[in-house]
């Protein structure tokens, strides 16, 4: 079906090849997961598979890609559509029409199919993604997950033999991500077509793939079936900073042969492999994961009975009250529309409450301009590219302190230090907009940290980042926390929230549904059940084994080995 034989591909103006010695074959019914660290060439490879390279992207391609026997270099891009369809990350970048049926019918219309056939294909494709009832709806009235399902339906309506999915759930909230994963599972089970999936969140999609292709620096470093990968190559995942399903990681650490992918399978296998103690003692609490006595520290942010509504809409925030201490790292969780971003914008004075009060370091900011908080409060927005407006990374980092009239010598010092901390020193002369997604995020963070704020607010800093980037970034927040700098970040990444936040706040329809230590929050099944949040597997395993919560796999494995709780190895 797909036969790839690429000696090299090099982008214009680059000396280093983006792809080198890529050779593999994919057959119908296979679901292949392509993974690797940021910049390893995954997306470039996908572009080769659907013909964007060489048809719509410049560069030098040495080699061939055959799709159903046709060389993609000789088949026009528009004719490739019947063979291969691609779903990209953000649904808003792909949707062209205003109405669902127009969008799904767009491709079949281009194929000049008879009207009855187009109509049938629209129905079938919408049914495949569970969106048939929305056929006549406006696209912009749908949620992010529903819009991405429409994108998938519009590709399925073309009936391609190969479906390429480039991180289709990375821009979605937990509810949307869950919808997309469920659609992917259904499509994968059909086994009619080949599916090629690029995803950072390997732990969430591993069960869908029967084959893994792992890439690094433009080369394939591993191509094997799932079982072999998890049996023999886990060290490669660690080496490349890739995320494993926590159940697989746990069994690897415990030297157990099974590779369960779901929590239920893992619990069954653990109960089979572990011995229950005769006299179960009370489970010892988990090792001190990130924890701090917030009462000991002075307040950084205080919010009292905050109400807010956008003009002509219902209340977005309804009586929110909370206090955040200096040095705390707080994760804000919740679905789209729960009020997370609105709350963040209230904390920096961009939005003003309709009722209630927001105070920063004890001073009410309700009637202050956001500019008056510069230097104290910094914000990194969801799309870091929108924060980068200067010619070079160095100028970008100096932009904020310059506006604050900091002395030139001091600016130079701050720029040097910040770029070093954010590992951007060797990119100081580069244009920020030319950097990769992860690098743009680091540049945006550098541009606000150089102002030496005492509170850092971040809107989804983990979105679209690989594990290595996330970890490096969050470790830096921890360092800042030690210096008394408060961080509040919005995320959909439960594992990151659990591992790095001192405290988690879950928002739901404008109110605080839960607020507490990560372990306490995820241990409260009733609260979690009210949201679409999925607790990390480690937490679910602890609950299933009757252990107090652990924050990460390594800790849980240690506790099981030590015989903490009612089980012995």
């Amino acid at each position: 079906m797909i036969d790839v034989d690429i000696a090299s591909f090099t982008y214009p103006g680059q000396f280093k090849a983006a792809l080198k010695d890529i050779r593999f074959r994919i057959t119908p019914g296979e679901c292949v997961l392509i993974a690797g660290p940021t910049g390893c060439g995954k997306s470039t490879l996908l572009k080769c598979l659907n013909g964007i390279i060489p048809h719509a992207s410049e560069g030098t391609l040495a080699g061939t890609v055959h799709m159903n026997g046709s060389d993609t270099q000789t088949v026009p891009l528009a004719r490739m559509a019947g063979m291969v369809g691609m779903v990209q990350q953000n649904p808003d970048d792909q949707i062209f029409s205003l109405v669902v049926e127009d969008e799904v019918g767009f491709g079949p219309e281009n194929l000049c199919l008879p009207v009855a056939e187009i109509d049938r294909r629209i129905d079938t494709a919408l049914s495949q993604v569970g969106m048939q009832p929305y056929r006549k709806h406006r696209v912009d009235a749908l949620s992010g997950g529903q819009r991405q399902r429409i994108v998938i339906a519009s590709i399925l309506a073309m009936q391609p033999a190969v479906l390429l999915l480039d991180e289709p759930a990375s821009q979605l909230d937990p509810k949307g991500a869950r919808e997309i994963l469920s659609v992917m599972a259904r499509l994968s089970a059909e086994s009619k077509r080949a599916m090629v999936l690029v995803e950072h969140r390997i732990h969430e999609v591993a069960h869908l793939a029967n084959r893994f292709i792992i890439m690094d620096q433009g080369r394939i470093v591993l191509d094997a079936d799932r079982q072999t990968v998890f049996q023999k190559h886990i060290d490669l995942f660690h080496h490349l900073g890739l995320r494993l399903p926590e159940t697989v990681e746990l069994f690897h650490r415990l030297d157990l042969d099974d590779q369960p992918l779901t929590t239920d399978d893992a619990l069954t296998a653990l109960r089979k492999n572990l011995k229950r103690k005769d006299e179960p003692r009370h489970a010892a609490p988990g090792r001190a994961a990130p924890d701090m006595k917030t009462g000991d520290r002075p307040p950084a942010i205080t919010i009292d009975d905050l109400w807010f509504a956008y003009e002509g809409q219902n209340w977005t925030l309804k009586g929110v009250s909370l206090g955040i201490s200096q040095g705390e790292i707080v994760a804000l969780l919740g679905n789209n529309g729960s009020g997370k971003s609105t709350l963040l914008l209230q904390m920096c004075g961009i939005l003003k409450p309709a009722r209630g009060e927001v105070s920063i370091f004890g001073g009410c900011i309700t009637h202050k301009k956001p500019e008056s908080l510069v230097g104290d409060v910094a914000v990194v927005f969801q799309d870091p590219g929108l924060m980068l407006c200067c010619d070079t990374v160095e100028k970008e980092t100096a932009f904020g302190p310059g506006n604050l009239n900091v002395a030139p010598a001091e600016i130079d010092k701050r720029v040097r230090e910040t770029l070093t901390v954010m590992t951007l020193s060797d990119m100081a002369a580069k244009a920020p907009q030319s950097l990769s997604g992860g690098q743009r995020l680091r540049a945006a963070v550098a541009s606000v940290l150089s102002m030496q704020p005492r509170i850092v607010l971040l809107d989804e800093p983990t979105s679209g980042q690989d594990r290595r980037n996330i970890k490096g970034f969050m470790e830096h927040l921890k360092t800042l926390s030690g210096e008394g700098i408060t961080s509040v970040f919005i995320t959909h990444d439960m594992e990151t929230a659990l591992e790095f936040a001192h405290r988690i706040i879950i928002l739901d329809h404008g109110t605080i549904l839960a607020d507490g230590k990560p372990a306490t929050i995820f241990a409260d099944g009733d609260t979690i059940a009210q949201t679409s949040l999925k607790p990390p597997q480690t937490m679910a395993l602890c609950a299933g084994l009757g252990l107090s919560p652990s924050f990460c796999v390594a800790e849980l494995a240690d506790r099981i080995r030590r015989g903490d709780g009612p089980w012995l190895m």
């Binding site: 659907n50 964007i52 719509a56 891009l77 528009a78 004719r79 559509a81 369809g85 691609m86 990209q88 953000n90 808003d92 970048d93 792909q94 062209f96 029409s97 205003l98 109405v99 019918g105 767009f106 491709g107 219309e109 281009n110 000049c112 199919l113 187009i118 109509d119 406006r138 912009d140 994108v151 519009s154 590709i155 956008y310 003009e311 002509g312 809409q313 914008l345 920096c348 961009i350 956001p370 500019e371 908080l373 510069v374 230097g375 409060v377 914000v379 927005f381 799309d383 590219g385 929108l386 924060m387 980068l388 407006c389 200067c390 932009f399 904020g400 506006n403 907009q433 541009s447 606000v448």
Partner: protein, 294 residues
């Protein structure tokens, strides 16, 4: 806070205006724009502007969109009249009142005055701009982007340009949202984007991230569209029937819009006459008409 993005999505209704062929809408828009540039007579311009408003009740444009239109027009009319009133350079000009006299700040200079002719000239210019803006927004709010793309291609607009226009229109709501974020980010870095002295710097600083994002997004949209077999000049079926279909109303509107040609002709011969280049006594009625109405 107003969510501007919501006002900038096209409306989807089955009204008379929505059903008009997008090619007709574009032709009418072009012709009306030409006429509005040609005409100097304030009364005629007001009449043309009033005509451009007729489509709004017929298209049942929502109140929130009308509100946005009113705000836009108010800013446009005020801005144009205000700037022309202050900086009108042609002669003769009559000072209505003085803001700063010739000796202000101890300098010998012209001073800052409001000129009567400037107000009149600004009003004419603002009516021209308002007419085009009003009609362009009506076309945008009542046309599906994919139908508009087909219309532009059918009108022989080069595919690259047509796709760029549609992409820009499609992304207007997103661009507005992104511009808001860009300005917010700048304010939180201590920069005052709306300070008058920062005018050009602000434009540059805002354009860099917005354009970079726009280019990235346009490339993705192009891949999405071409990846679904879209080819600019290839035939395609439409399961909802041909959206490019000249109906009797379209023909009537296009015929009506060609009234622009006599207006252009009248203006041309009147200009030739007033500049002592060409005069035909047989055309005296045209000169009289042009003087009074054009």
């Amino acid at each position: 806070m107003v969510d501007v993005k919501r006002f900038l999505e096209p409306t989807l209704k089955n009204t008379l205006v929505h059903r008009i062929d997008p090619r007709t809408k574009l032709i009418v828009l072009i012709m009306v724009s030409i006429v509005s540039i040609t005409i100097d007579n304030p009364t005629s311009l007001v009449g043309l502007f009033a005509l451009s408003l007729i489509g709004y009740p017929l298209a049942r444009i929502p109140g929130k969109n009308i509100k946005l239109l009113v705000i836009l027009l108010a800013l446009l009319i005020w801005g144009t009249i205000y700037s022309q009133a202050l900086f009108y350079q042609l002669h003769p000009r009559t000072i209505l009142f003085t803001i700063l006299d010739e000796n202000a700040f101890g300098l010998k200079w012209e001073g800052l005055h409001v000129f009567a002719e400037g107000i009149e000239y600004g009003a004419v210019q603002s009516m021209r701009l308002s007419t085009t803006t009003t009609l362009a927004l009506l076309v945008y709010w009542t046309t599906d982007p994919s139908a508009m793309l087909s219309a532009l291609i059918a009108l022989k607009v080069p595919y690259g340009l047509a796709f760029m226009v549609i992409t820009a229109l499609r992304f207007v709501p997103l661009l507005i949202g992104e511009a808001v974020t860009v300005f917010r980010a700048q304010r939180l870095k201590g920069y005052a984007p709306f300070k008058p002295t920062n005018g050009f710097r602000t434009i540059f600083l805002a354009l860099v991230p917005i354009l970079a994002n726009c280019i990235r997004r346009a490339a993705k949209l192009a891949v999405s569209v071409e990846g679904r077999s879209f080819q600019p000049h290839a035939p395609r079926t439409s399961f909802k029937g041909n959206r490019l279909d000249f109906k009797p109303l379209d023909k009537l509107l296009i015929a009506g819009s060609f009234l622009a040609l006599p207006v252009l002709f009248g203006k041309l011969v009147y200009w030739l006459y007033t500049n002592n280049i060409l005069y035909f006594s047989e055309l005296r009625w045209v000169y009289a008409f042009a003087e009074k109405y054009i």
